[in-house]
Amino acid sequence: MNEKSESQQQHLETFSYDDDVTKLFVTATLIWGAVAMFLGVLVAFQLADWRLNFGIEWLTFGRLRPLHTNAAIFAFAGNGFFAGIYHSMQRLLKCRMFNDTLGRIHFWGWQLIIVCAAITLPMGLSRSKEYAELEWPIGIMITIVWVVFAVNFFGTLFKRREKHIYVAIWFYIATIVTVAVLHIVNSLAIPVSWTKSYSIYAGVQDALVQWWYGHNAVAFFLTTPFLGLMYYFVPKAANRPIYSYRLSIIHFWSLVFLYIWAGPHHLLYSALPEWVQTLGVVFSISLWAPSWGGMINGLLTIRGVWHRLRTDHTLKFLATALTFYGMSTFEGPLLSIKSVNSLAHFTSWIVGHVHSGTIGWNYFMVAGIFYYLIPYLWKTKLYSQKLGHLHFWTATIGLLFYIVSMWVAGVTQGLMWRAIDQTTGMLVYPNFVETVIRIVPMYWIRAFGGVLVLTSFLIMMYNFYKTIQGAPKKVKPEEFQAPALHAQKHEATQGHRKLEGLPAIFSVLVVIAILVGSAIEILPGLLSNHFIEENPDIKPLTALEQAGRDIYTREGCFYCHSQMIRPMPHETMRYGKRSTAAEYVYDHPFQWGSRRTGPDLARIGGKYPNMWHYRHMIDPREMTPGSIMPVYDWLIYREIDFEILPEKLTALRKVGVPYSDEEIQNAVADAKEQAESVSYMLTETGVDASIQDKEIVALIAYLQRLGVDAGESTEFQFTEENLEAEE
């Protein structure tokens, strides 16, 4: 390198870096991180004590949980890695960002999206798909801002002064192209109004597309950009090159190729076709190898400077982040093994697993990077080393409280659900709420852990605030020199090196790598009904029931109640016969859920009288002592929006629900008629007659329909097939 630059002194170009955009993203990360963690603590306490929504609908768990997850993933982690990318890519490519204005549009556009999310999610405007809740206008904003980011990113690549594209940049490329593909495919929907849309996919297909998206949001939003940052900031902090550049090549391609297949492990034992589940499991377990390859590559880079972990906050946080990354990427494949999954799925174990990734990996990575970046960008020294240590230990201990309490809660509840008495052949805990009451103490411990994590974040914020406050005010931006790319003498290059010099072709190869798995898993299900046995008894919902379903999705019921009975003796004994793919063909979107904080509702229809549901919504504890469900009394005051029903049914018909012209024309009258008959059973026992145009009636109509078309629930029988499924 030295020779080259000496011989080309005359071609040197002078440039500076756009550090202001990085500073903006750093600031936003700190603010949204505090918001996300505060929301997390609030919803954690709400699970421990149902009264903590203070009777306000906008603060209910079902509406705040998506705000917490969106804030943590897209606002905190998103702004965090944008800051890291803007900083590192300019230096790795030895050039300023392509366009400063695009960087500002990216920044302010992204913050606007987050503000929109913070307003719409508590209002209940939700697509009801996890981590993809934002309604379609915001979805379009995300697409536009992402394209702006991509243009700025690839523009910078094309005007770079460093020929070789370092491995960190590959991970950024994979992030940008894959997130675009995931977001667009999963967001396809038919709008009813500015605030409501229906997914174009239904049931099994929607589930498959959603978890292909959902898992790869973890992969390509929370993992690949952070791995890229790891490849830049760990060598930077340790002041030594990455342990093995060769390993990083294998790491990159195998991770990118394998990850995209793993989504179906979120749907094991569901009505998803068996072969897709198996593919998901195989690739999830294979993922252990590249994940640990990356972790080992990062940790071994610190070889020789381990002693600095005691004093260097950047290294300490990065090393701990890598350790938690190793742990959660070990746990992930473990949870994908079907027999383990049968115990862990729908329990708190999954919640603990997710947080060991998001807190242990993403938060710690951001913290480590910021301990490096903030003093560097503001040209000053960290305000307090002691606060740095306090931050580290508060966060680590808080996270351990979180993970361990969720392990205990998850395994306990999972075992209680499946316990069958050996002599009577009956469920040991037939009453679901028994299994809830048992784990409430763990919810308190988890919330305590969350408080520690939030506290740690506030300590970090204070430390950074004081650091920035004490920084010199006006500093002239540093200028650098490097020869232009075209002026550099190129050695003959070949193979992967040549490939790295061609970002366009490289990006195309990445797209192919992610599309192989996507196409093989998703396309057969979309193109063919081969995998869904038809059931002529399954009919579309009535207009009123659809109105009820929209209330169900608005309130985020599916965050706590699944609609998927797995083929296991204890599930069929508790909830009725196993769910089949045919039952969901009109579900836009699917509502299978991912966590059973409360019982499954797939066959709740007809199980209780209307009055039970009515009183249960007003006071869940009256019907189920010990229940932790919040009160939904606003459903009794809010009126059903009848007038929009024809439009809703029309939109649903566009996505394939066979409503006739007549049904659409008469939607309002039909719904009112059904509302009258549902409320008749309520008014009979003394409820005011005005109830019949209130939302609770629509919701009851929907709940009473669930599972009814599939016929009588049969008690579980000990057939050979069922016993095999249990094993």
Partner: protein
């Protein structure tokens, strides 16, 4: 055509073939990455983050 493809799900040979391709690509990539005389190239690349750039 798609239904023809789907009927192949029970056919063992395409699966073995796919497995073979996976392993061959992986082993091939590893061999190539560890080819002789490549150490210098990779050292150069690994040092990119540590270059400070020429300060003016």
């Amino acid at each position: 055509m798609k239904s023809e493809v789907l009927t192949q799900a029970t056919n063992l040979w395409p699966q073995i073939f796919a497995l073979f391709i996976f392993i061959a690509v992986f082993v091939g990539a590893c061999l190539w990455i560890f080819r002789k005389n490549s150490a210098k190239v990779y050292d150069e690349m690994a040092n990119i983050p540590l270059e400070k750039g020429q300060k003016r």
